[in-house]
């Protein structure tokens, strides 16, 4: 593994830097999703800089843990985190969504080493994790499979088909993380298509469910540690996150689900994030 463990403070700082990168990328791209990637920055920082067994210099390392992104529209956070982790140079982030870029608007596995799946159309990540887990079982192989999925995408029937299968086959090397930010394109999830009682639903499908503050990096790391200790059951971490986290005018507003900031908004957002970064660093000193 290339990354040595960092302190929680360092991780918080890093997550904030990643948020700044996300704002810059989206402003430059002129299209894309803002709220989800910002909300997921802490989870992705925790994954790439603490939880995952991976090597940015060897993206196809056979012993690596697998991270599937099911809600592909949130991929800017993955790109930004991968760049910080050393998969590619940060300058490439500015090619997001441009012709010829490896950083497609929605992730394409074949374009960029380090991506494990091609996604965008929702509801398929968990099924692919199930297939991978079944294959590992057949081969007596043990690797962890992490799946980041949205809450809105759980309107998809395919998600629950996978949930049922993972429960049946006790696929305990799967640790799924639901980005429970309560928004989707048409509005709040509970207005568009109520998901609650989400915890009870996953439990009823045979999953071990943990609930955490998804913007608390320590909590994310701890939940994954707990999740890995669960045997005989797949694990669902319902991570309550703030959509648009870190940018005041984006937080909790579903209108920011599917659009990028314009220049003026980006300047404002970056100013807020820099102030936040200063706060994180001063707390540490």
């Amino acid at each position: 593994m290339a990354n040595s463990k960092r302190s929680v403070h360092e991780l918080k700082d890093l997550a904030n830097d990643i948020r700044e990168d996300i704002i810059r990328m989206l402003e430059h791209a002129g299209s894309g999703h803002s709220a989800g990637p910002l909300g997921l920055a802490d989870i992705f920082t925790a994954l790439y800089f603490d939880i995952l067994k991976h090597d940015p210099k060897r993206p196809d390392w056979p012993e690596r843990d697998i991270l599937l992104l099911s809600n592909g529209h949130c991929v800017p956070v993955r790109y930004a985190t991968m760049a910080r982790a050393g998969y590619f140079d940060r300058s490439e982030l500015m090619t997001l969504r441009q012709f010829g870029s490896r950083l497609q608007g929605h992730p394409e596995r074949l374009r960029l080493p380090g991506l494990e799946n091609t996604s965008g159309p929702l509801g398929c990540g968990l099924s692919q994790a199930c297939g991978m887990s079944l294959a590992m079982k057949m081969d007596d192989q043990h690797r962890w499979i992490y799946v980041v999925m949205g809450d809105g995408e759980q309107d998809e029937g395919n998600v629950w088909e996978a949930a049922m299968l993972a429960g049946k086959y006790k696929l305990s090397n799967i640790i799924a993380i639901t980005d429970r930010n309560n928004i989707q394109i048409d509005g709040p999830t509970e207005t568009v298509m109520p998901l609650e009682d989400l915890k009870a639903k996953w439990q009823a499908f045979g999953w071990h469910v943990l609930e955490i503050d998804g913007n608390d990096i320590e909590a994310v790391i701890e939940a994954c540690t707990m999740g890995r200790a669960v045997t005989e059951q797949p694990v669902m971490i319902i991570a309550y996150t703030v959509p648009g986290k870190g940018v005041d005018f984006m937080e909790y507003d579903f209108h920011w689900h599917g659009k990028p900031p314009d220049h003026e908004q980006a300047v404002k957002a970056l100013h807020e994030l820099r102030t936040l970064g200063g706060k994180i660093r001063s707390e540490h000193e």
């Binding site: 394409e108 074949l110 509801g123 398929c124 099924s127 297939g131 887990s133 294959a135 057949m138 088909e161």
Partner: protein
């Protein structure tokens, strides 16, 4: 028996469902390579996966009635180096799960082997809901996908084994009813190749799946009309063997396509495109003409919808009248 080991349709031919050949082929593929695995959506015996399941229970996954999950789980199996064969009725897979196939298998380039059984109106009494007619079109438009429709159980076994060593995603179409066995152990099969099963000079009959037998029968009858029909069996609809097809077109100057599915999007469309781009000749497409099937016995349905030797013969007579005008 012809040079290619194709039997004469005037003989008393043995019959077997095409799906049986798949079952045998999958077992053989499983014996040849431990990476071959199988998954089914609650139709293990109907789709003839039971032979494999009994031989390799640890390499078989029961998915339940969940076709979207069937193919996405297969994408994950393939990601870990497995060669997954996944089966259901064609109406459900690839009928229901097309987008998952597009994104997680074709665009994601995972060599999943899709098996759609019970295709065509010859499914019979189950009726229109279960008579899949659009699968060839649905799969043919997908980049990276290979589309195969064997003509009998012997060819189905060979095709299945060829799929197991082919690097791309594949779709194979199977039929429910017993179909006359027209090929033999020596008959060649290669993914991407079409074969001239019967030589002729007046018209080319391009047929796939269950309809190749009917085309051979029609060619035999057309002899009585003084018409020498060439029968080209097209087991791979994509990639299409353009060279063999164009060669036949140049020789005969007229064409009929025959398939047990929609003429829009399937073999008929594929050949029409080839004709238009390479060697324009008169063409009649025989198949389901933009309509659904219904309940009935296979034979009566095939006759009702014009999918047998009798109708192929009439079409050939008609097209040749125009050709000699």
């Amino acid at each position: 028996m012809s040079e290619l080991g194709v039997l004469s349709v005037t003989d008393n031919l043995e019959k077997e469902p095409i799906r049986k050949g798949f079952g045998k082929g999958l077992l053989a593929a499983g014996q040849a390579n431990t990476a071959v695995v199988a998954a089914c959506a609650d139709l293990t015996e109907s789709t003839q996966m039971n032979l494999f399941k009994e031989a390799f229970p640890e390499r078989f996954v029961e998915i339940g009635v969940a076709e979207q999950n069937l193919v996405t789980v297969a994408s994950g199996l393939a990601a870990m180096g497995k060669i997954p064969f996944v089966s259901s009725y064609a109406a459900f897979s690839p009928g229901r799960n097309w987008e998952q196939i597009r994104t997680t298998i074709c665009l994601n380039d995972r060599p999943v082997k899709l098996v759609g059984s019970h295709a065509g109106v010859s499914v019979g009494p189950d009726g229109a809901t279960h008579q899949m007619l659009e699968d060839l079109g649905l799969m043919r438009v997908l980049p990276n996908m290979v589309v195969i429709a064997p003509c009998d159980s012997v060819e189905a076994a060979k095709a299945t084994q060829a799929m197991a060593v082919h690097p791309q995603p594949n779709y194979i179409r199977l039929a429910r009813e017993a179909t006359p066995i027209i090929t033999s152990a020596n008959t060649p099969f290669r993914i991407g190749a079409a074969y001239v099963y019967r030589e002729g000079s007046d018209i080319s009959l391009f047929a796939t799946g269950t309809m190749t037998y009917q085309a051979l029968k029609a060619a035999e009858k057309l002899k009585d009309d003084g018409i020498y029909a060439e029968v080209v069996h097209v087991p791979t609809i994509k990639p299409l063997d353009v060279a063999t097809i164009v060669q036949s077109l140049k020789k005969t100057g007229a064409a009929i396509t025959v398939e047990e599915g929609q003429i829009n999007g399937g073999l008929g469309s594929a050949i029409a495109e080839t004709i238009a781009e390479n060697h324009p000749v008169p063409l009649i497409r025989i198949g389901m003409a933009d309509r659904f099937g219904e309940s009935g016995q296979p034979e009566e349905l095939l006759d009702h919808f014009g999918l047998n030797a009798k109708h192929i013969r009439l079409a050939a007579q008609h097209i040749l009248k125009g050709k000699t005008r």
